[in-house]
């Protein structure tokens, strides 16, 4: 090939290079999953899932951390979902675009960009120390709720905007009040889209570590009250790996983490596609 290259030759080379880089990206990401599953799946067993950890996690399973994760996420969603959906309803149905909506959206976007360690720091100072909740499920779920709020706001807003305007007109024209229109027509139609956001934030919460470890703590017992400290799967995995407690248990926990997150995300994807297809 002679220099300078013709545009055709240049294109051929670039194309090859781009293909290589794209394939590399896919390979790396797929490899991570493969690697974790390859080492983690052999560790998995029914026992691993339903037995509590013993000797700091060196022996036994991860049952209490699964419970911890689930409890924390359910509580966080219980708080964040009404707040997020309410905000989205207000933004889309109750107020015209203007300064107020801009401020609210800006706040939500900023919140979305704040790193989880800052949430951890904040949750620690406010909930754990100032409000004296201690390292507890309460502190952890409040912090987590704040963290996932922007995701729920954004996805709910998009879902609500997808509901055909004609539905609202029908409801109003039949004598519906605004709230009747929202609660009986808009929300039911937007529900699958809203669910997408909620499930998406479940996926994010399962993997969250920095914000949780400083607020919910890392106790290995099964929690018995809102004020018990608990350890989530991701925190458990982090501690196992970082303190070199047990590599095989770490792989096993990582596999459970990955499988649960990926299935949640795949489910979200499925749900979102169905929702979009329905309205377009």
């Amino acid at each position: 090939m002679r220099w300078p290259l013709t545009p055709r030759q240049e294109q051929a080379i670039v194309r090859l290079l781009l293909l290589f880089l794209t394939a590399l990206s896919i390979f790396i990401l797929a490899f991570i999953i493969f690697f974790i599953l390859r080492h983690g799946l052999p560790v998995l067993s029914w026992e691993f899932l339903v037995r509590n950890p013993r000797e700091m996690g060196k022996e036994g399973g991860i049952f209490s951390t699964i419970i911890g994760t689930i409890v924390l996420i359910i509580l966080a969603l219980t708080l964040a979902t009404p707040l997020g959906v309410g905000t989205a309803i207000f933004l889309t149905e109750y107020t015209p675009e203007g300064r107020l909506t801009r401020i609210i959206r800006f706040g939500s976007e900023c919140l979305a960009g704040i790193p989880s360690i800052i949430f951890g720091l904040f949750g620690f100072i406010l909930f754990v120390t100032k409000l004296k909740f201690g390292w507890s499920i309460l502190s952890g779920s409040l912090t987590l709720a704040f963290m996932i709020l922007p995701t729920i706001i954004r996805t709910s807003e998009e879902a609500i905007k997808f509901v055909p305007q004609a539905y609202r007109e029908v409801s109003f024209s039949l004598g519906g009040t605004k709230w009747q229109t929202v609660s009986r027509v808009v929300l039911p139609s937007a529900l699958p889209g809203i669910a997408t956001g909620v499930i998406l934030s479940i996926g994010r919460s399962i993997g969250e570590t920095a914000a949780v470890i400083f607020t919910a703590g890392s106790a290995l017992r099964i929690p018995d009250s809102l004020f018990s400290s608990t350890r989530t799967m991701s925190v458990h995995f982090y501690i196992l790996a970082r303190e070199g407690i047990s590599l095989s248990k770490a792989y096993g926990t990582a596999a459970v983490l990955l499988i649960s997150i990926l299935s949640v995300n795949i489910f979200t994807y499925y749900l979102m596609n169905r929702f979009l297809r329905k309205y377009s």
Binding site: R15, A30, Y94, G207, F237
Partner: protein, 285 residues
């Protein structure tokens, strides 16, 4: 009937209160981080925090410069890895691959964005750290290692948003250019990339924000030394890891110093957020 209208008013008020939650939480977070972190910065002087190299918090030395540099280094490194990969993927998938491939690969990569950071860190520890140690020297826990892992972590963000902004361009741009006899690559380089610029920049800033804010993965692979690294194979500590590493056990001034670290991190992130916000605004208009 009046009762019904009052109820509607009440609901509106209630929703307004809820809608203010996000901005209130943001305010609450800023207030707490700043009231915990600023006093100690005032007491010892900002200069000492920002420009001193010594971090011996138990003895009253609070120099955050090594961590600031550490954050900058790994973030820059992450961009060096993540940006070319992400952009190349976005360009290939939107311009050169079939729709079928794109519709398969894009969601796949977005799914992978859900891999938790601890898992990335772990992969770094068990694969990359020993690999770097054996092939390049040094302890393996290093700027280099952290950059690679962070680069991979921000890849899905960059890829996915860049694809969206390239796909959002009207097809006429591309058709017009091709009709003038340009090759696809020339079209990409001279027409499409400039046109999708602000979306792509927004994706880079978001990736940047994610890299700066990442904590657990970095702790696991960067080595966390508070000394300035002399090469990219030396260990380094970032602002985020500085907070996370010492939060568990400290109190008093030392803890306040961690909040001061949080203040600096918070400011950096807010600047990035605002920039991303402004670019995407420009994209919208």
């Amino acid at each position: 009937m009046r009762g019904k209208e009052n109820r509607e008013k009440l609901i509106q008020l209630f929703l307004l209160t809820i809608a203010l939650s996000a901005i209130s939480i943001l305010a609450l977070i800023s207030i707490f981080i700043f009231t915990e972190g600023l006093p100690i910065m005032f007491r010892h002087g900002f200069k000492k925090f920002l420009f001193s190299l010594d971090w011996y918090p138990s003895e009253g030395y609070f120099g955050l410069l090594p961590m600031i540099i550490g954050s900058l280094l790994v973030t820059a490194g992450a961009m060096v890895i993540g940006v070319p990969l992400g952009l190349a993927g976005a360009i290939y998938l939107t311009q050169f691959s079939s729709k079928k491939v794109r519709n398969l690969v894009k969601p796949m990569i977005e799914l992978l964005a859900g891999i938790p950071s601890v898992v990335y860190g772990f992969i770094g520890v068990v694969i990359l750290v020993p690999f770097v140690r054996e092939n390049f020297g040094g302890p393996g826990f290093s700027v280099f290692t952290a950059s690679i892992i962070l680069g991979i972590m921000i890849l899905p963000t960059i890829l996915s948003i860049s694809i969206d902004s390239l796909m959002a361009l009207p097809p006429s741009y591309r058709e017009g250019s091709i009709a003038l006899g340009a090759t696809q690559w020339q079209t990409v380089r001279m027409v499409l990339l400039p046109a999708a610029r602000s979306g792509i920049i927004a994706s880079l800033i978001l990736g940047l924000g994610r890299a700066v804010g990442e904590t657990m993965a970095v702790i696991m692979i960067a080595g966390n030394a508070t000394a300035l690294p002399r090469s990219i194979l030396d260990p380094v500590r970032t602002l985020t890891s500085n907070i996370a590493l010492e939060m568990g056990y400290v109190s008093g001034e030392h803890r306040q110093a961690l909040f001061a670290t949080g203040v600096i991190l918070f400011i950096i992130i807010m600047i990035l957020n605002t920039m991303a916000n402004l670019t995407s605004k420009r994209m919208a208009s």
